[in-house]
Amino acid sequence: MKEWLDGVIAGSALLQGAPREITYFLAMVFFSLLAVGWMAILALSFVWMERKISARIQSRLGPVYCGGKFGWAQTVADALKLLMKEDLIPRSADRLLFTVAPVIVFLSTLLTFAAIPFGDNLIIANLDIGIFFILAISSLAVIGIIMGGWASNNKWSLYGGMRAASQMISYEIPVALSLIGVIMYSGSLNLLEIGRAQAGGFWHWNLFRSPFLFLGGFVYFTAAIAEANRTPFDLPEAESELVSGFNTEYSGMKFALFFLAEFANLFVISAIASVMFLGAWHSFLPWQILPGPIWFLMKAFSLVVVIMWMRWTLPRLRVDQLMQVCWKYLIPISLVLLVGLGTQMWVFSGR
């Protein structure tokens, strides 16, 4: 990104004359707004997609009035409604934490957008520790959720917050372990390099390069869904038990922030899965028929569809079963996969 920006400045006489810091600053503001806007558009379209998919699975239609036959304007209408709602803070709630909680959750998801490559060199911040940065920032969301649960001063929200704490922190581990496999194989934390190494046909994708990476992909996908609090792991906001869990007391803009953050997070997970396992912006044949970003978005979107599909099919796991799945199954499996991958690499490539 920086190189691109330098290139643009070099090519434009106007920008040459301005002080470097101002130009960079303006560029930063511009791209931040772009990221926010892109995140908002994504979240809104995912909400629409979820409603349509869930409706079709449940043998009904979904939104069909607002915005013509397909109801695409429904989400816009809902977003406007949320914005115009009264901003309620319960009297006995902790005001500061209550207000800050959704902001933290939203921020943690937004920041990761800075490090996702949408195509070759199409990335806002080309960090050498790309994937590490993303993992670190996205784990900040836990703090926000616990804060939201505690600050609401409501026993049910507290339950949601506590469940979220244990769940999200535990599932960080299989997420990281399965990604370490890919990092080991690619030899770099830089997402652009990992993406470039998967050029060629789909047999070059990381998912198919090794049976250990194949299984690792599924481990990552499962653990990431748990991170995102989606069914079958959506205990922190289990509707039927906790009346929206940590979400219960939130309404209006704050609720909108939580909501958008959740859907944007889905995109981040799918994006990481596409970049790390499914060949990033490369097509599945050796010829790049469509531009890179289109492939990338298609892969990410189809993974999001799979996640939504799972939500409407499966029941919910209980807390202790959830912990069992993480500690007794996913973590040992991912450790075994790591060892296997290391052995394979040592045997076959001497690395």
């Binding site: 026993k155 289990a238 039927s240 038990e241 499966l314 029941p315 796991l317």
Partner: protein
């Protein structure tokens, strides 16, 4: 939803938390309040508080005359209104010594069994919803729509029917309606297999329900649990078979019981599966009824215009989808009844909740309450 909160201690000493799974909660199937004492996620004690839907129907019944009570019975267990009606009219007919013509009996059984399917569908859908699988709820209610269309053809209402009368019914079934029942049965039978594929043998569902909330048979008998909940604990006691009323002794059907296939006998999975298997049996009964239904009167022509049973008292019970629905009727020869007590199965079953929920997790409590299939209209009357 904010309640008076006991502050969580600042040091590491944990206290038990008193929570109200309040009258408004998505999983309590109505306005039920459960006061829980929990230690973290583990429930130590459950105290049910009911009465939020109490309309003192038994007092009203003493003022409206024998036929006027029938609409009130609809509104008790509103998911099984036909069966409620059935129980009440049978009680009065027993006291009066009134016979119902054959065709009337067959139509009554058709309506009752269709209602049983509809009720079990609602139970199945809401149970799945409580556990997080939202889709089966929509499927169940889609099938219920078809049943309600049939009921609407027969009596004009979709939920509270007022269809039965003392001595028979309020209207006949036309051949179109019988054809509608037949086509519904053809449509519905494959759906049961679909539900099994979707939910019943799903690993996550089994983990949530197998071995949870086990009610041993002796406990079930002592607490007065009846219906599918009792049959899930291992006995094949069904009032339609063991104490038959109407024409059930002419019909062939099996009584599904819980066998502990996935966990222990009498757990939530058994209660759920007994209902699924019972729907299959209902379809069998309906097909036999459709084949055997004769022509004739649908109401006894000798039914008196003013119902005045002789002085006496009688207790009659029928098999509601939720258990044994009993009506204790005391008459003193006047046009209004003297006392009507309804032995409601859900009211009785709620008493077992404190006994089986010590040491379960919060999520299990939701599963247990859902599997007992409680309707508050009947609990509170």
């Amino acid at each position: 939803m904010a309640q008076d909160m006991k502050p969580i201690a600042q040091d590491l000493h944990t206290e038990e938390m008193l929570i109200s799974m309040g009258p408004q909660h998505p999983s309590t199937h109505g306005v039920l309040r459960l006061e829980l004492t929990t230690d973290g996620e583990v429930v130590r004690n459950v105290r049910p508080f009911i009465g939020y839907l109490h309309r003192c129907f038994e007092k009203h019944a003493e003022k409206v005359g024998f036929t006027g009570v029938i609409p009130y019975t609809d509104r008790m267990d509103y998911l099984a209104a036909m069966n409620n009606n059935h129980g009440y009219v049978i009680t009065v007919e027993k006291l009066l010594g009134l016979e119902v013509p054959e065709r009337g009996e067959y139509i009554r059984v058709i309506m009752a069994e269709l209602q049983r399917i509809a009720s079990h569908l609602a139970a199945f859908g809401t149970f799945a919803n409580d556990l997080g699988a939202v889709t089966p709820l929509l499927y169940a209610f889609r099938e219920r729509e078809k049943i309600m269309d049939i009921f609407e053809m027969a009596c004009g209402a979709r939920l509270t029917y007022n269809y039965y009368r003392i001595g028979g019914l309020s209207g006949d079934l036309t051949p179109e309606m019988l054809a509608a029942v037949r086509s519904f049965l053809d449509y519905f039978e494959p759906k049961l297999k679909e539900y099994d594929d979707l939910l019943s043998y799903n690993k996550i569902f089994i983990e949530r329900t197998a071995g949870v909330g086990v009610i041993p048979l002796a406990m079930a008998a002592n607490y007065g649990i009846t219906g599918p909940n009792l049959r899930a604990s291992g006995t094949s006691w069904d009032i339609r078979r063991n104490d038959p009323y109407s024409i059930y002794d002419r019909l062939e059907f099996d009584i599904p019981t819980g066998r502990g296939l996935k966990g222990e006998v009498g757990d939530c999975w058994d209660r759920y599966m007994v209902r699924m298997w019972e729907m299959r049996e209902c379809v069998r009964i309906l097909r036999q009824c459709l084949a055997q239904i004769p022509e004739g009167e649908y109401i006894n022509p000798k039914t008196p215009k003013a119902i005045r049973p002789p002085k006496g008292e009688v207790y009659v019970r029928v098999e509601n989808p939720r258990g044994e629905l009993g009506y204790y009727l005391v008459s003193d020869g006047k046009p209004n009844l003297y006392r009507l007590k309804v032995r409601s199965p859900c009211f009785t079953q709620l008493g077992v909740l404190p006994a089986i929920t010590d040491g379960v997790m919060l999520a299990d409590l939701v599963a247990i309450v859902g599997s007992l299939d409680i309707v508050l209209g009947e609990v509170d009357r």
